[in-house]
């Protein structure tokens, strides 16, 4: 059934989830009875009315920051992780470095990053990218390490070069786990995005939410929150589409 129209099924699922969240929100709002928590309808009305004039532009800039930072860290972390998982002699030296750096709350370097790279888009992208980089790297490396040696033997006996082994045996085996790590990283990225956008900027959904908060425009604030949720939703859907295209074999 799901094979017939996956898009339709997905839309229905999202619709149901939205309804449930809205209902919960609605009852909470009635219960709280405070303008700090507007009803979903009020927030939605606000969202619609300011969507083209303001939200869209913040949405666009936030989306850009998240997408660029995710892409950049993926492009670096995935090949590196695949490589370290297969080459023990390098992993031995790199692993301790990763384990020392991974747990550091890298967000505390934000002032230094701002100092080094100014206040434009780059430091924000850098900060998000730095944080998700480690999540993707460690997952990819472990997935690559877990590729059974028999798979490698079977490639070698076909005369494969090292690059061909990565391409045909290691990369496809790790791809589902890489996509999982990207889903997790996406959540992290948006959380970090919010944080970095609350400093020294006048663009982005994070800024918009904080700004509305400071002027006590609560329905506007919730419109911004909805924008952020929407941003995540779109990116998750993109990842799902990539997965259904590239990892067809997983869902047979």
């Amino acid at each position: 059934m799901s094979r017939k129209n996956p898009l339709l099924k997905k839309s229905v699922d999202v619709f149901i989830a939205t309804t449930v969240i809205m209902a919960f929100w609605y009852f909470l709002a009635i219960y709280v009875k405070n303008n700090m928590l507007p009803t979903p309808w009020a927030a939605m009305r606000e969202f619609m009315s300011i969507f083209r004039s303001t939200i869209l532009q913040h949405f666009y800039i936030s989306g850009l920051r998240v997408v660029v930072s995710l892409l950049a860290s993926t492009v670096i972390a995935v090949p590196l992780g695949l490589f370290l998982g297969r080459e023990d002699k390098y992993d031995r030296y790199v692993s301790p470095v990763i384990y020392l750096l991974y747990p550091i709350p890298k967000i505390v370097f934000l002032p230094i990053v701002f100092l080094l790279f100014g206040l434009g888009n780059f430091p924000k992208i850098f900060m998000i990218g730095l944080i998700v980089f480690f999540q993707i790297l460690v997952t990819t490396r472990d997935a690559s390490k877990g590729v059974p040696v028999q798979n490698i033997y079977s490639m070698l006996s076909l005369g494969a070069s090292r690059f061909q082994i990565y391409r045909h045996a290691v990369w496809p085996a790790c791809l589902p786990k890489i996509l999982t790590s990207l889903r997790i990283s996406l959540g992290t990225a948006i959380a970090v995005l919010f944080f970095v956008e609350s400093f020294a900027t006048s663009e982005g959904l994070g800024y918009f939410i904080m700004d509305s908060w400071s002027t006590a425009s609560y329905s506007q604030m919730f419109a911004g929150i909805m924008g952020m949720s929407f941003l995540g939703l779109i990116l998750y859907i993109v990842l799902d589409i990539i997965e259904s295209r590239w990892c067809k074999w997983q869902y047979l």
């Binding site: 079977s154 070698l156 076909l158 045909h168 496809p172 074999w249």
Partner: protein
């Protein structure tokens, strides 16, 4: 064709444990096979059968001894040796055609040339209607046939099989044994087949090499000239060789 002399293999110690001197997998292995012969290798599990095949395929190097395949040292890049692994041969993310063409793809053949070679083979093996299926959509027997198709694609002269049929049910097993014989005949192969099934070793191997417990060595080489002949399974000779193997392997009584 195959010449193995005084071969020994010790896997180096894995962790820096001073009591661990590594695993002695093979010791003092001697084996000869002529071109076109079918050798079955049988022995208890863990005795080093797979390791021996990996050495013949040039994937791992012996610790000592001589191994020659057609008077050359084994080399995994040689195209005339093909290896079929028990469980991991096929890639679940590749379709039947892609799996079967993998060796050719690696050799750098174009898509067109690949399918010119692979499509007839798949047809021959009764797989053409599954060519765009994924391994998970096939039965165990079909999967093994895809693995065989992949090996045949680059016309090897030596086919090494590591317990190729051990995960199959008895019926499929006998069909595929017959099938392996046909492949062997048609492609003029030299066949080395590792198995832990006594009946399989006896039905397929014109030479049967019996291995001891680890460190594995070949304790006996049995000549089995009737192997593969029609109705061999029903003949008294078959049962005689089987019980010979049983007593050598120390099973039954």
């Amino acid at each position: 064709m195959i010449f193995v002399e005084d071969l020994a293999l010790t896997y180096e110690q894995q962790n820096n444990n001073i009591y661990d001197n590594g695993v002695k997998a093979l010791a003092n292995v001697n084996l000869k096979a002529r071109r076109g012969e079918r050798v079955s290798i049988i022995g208890p599990s863990g005795c080093g059968k797979s390791s021996l095949l990996f050495i013949l395929a040039g994937l791992i190097r012996p610790s000592s001894g001589n191994v020659l395949i057609d008077s050359c040292e084994p080399d995994s890049r040689r195209t005339d040796t093909a290896l079929i692994l028990q469980d991991y041969g096929l890639f679940p993310w590749k379709t039947v055609v892609e799996n079967a063409s993998l060796g050719l793809e690696i050799r750098g053949l174009g898509k067109r040339e690949q399918s010119d070679i692979v499509i007839p083979i798949l047809e021959k093996l009764g797989l053409s209607e599954f060519s765009t299926a994924y391994p998970a959509q096939l039965s165990g027997g079909q999967r093994q046939r895809v693995a065989i198709a992949r090996s045949l694609a680059f016309k090897p002269s030596l086919l090494l099989m590591d317990e190729p049929l051990s995960s199959l049910d008895a019926l499929t097993r006998e069909t595929l044994q017959q099938f392996i014989l046909e492949i062997w005949r048609e492609h003029n192969l030299t066949l080395v087949l590792v198995t832990h099934s006594i009946e399989e070793a006896v039905f397929l191997g014109s030479t049967i090499a019996v291995m001891s417990e680890r460190p594995g060595t070949i304790i006996e080489t049995i000549v089995n000239p009737l192997a593969g002949t029609p109705g061999y399974r029903q003949r008294p000779e078959f049962h005689k060789v089987c019980s010979r193997l049983r007593s050598l392997l120390g099973v039954g009584n």
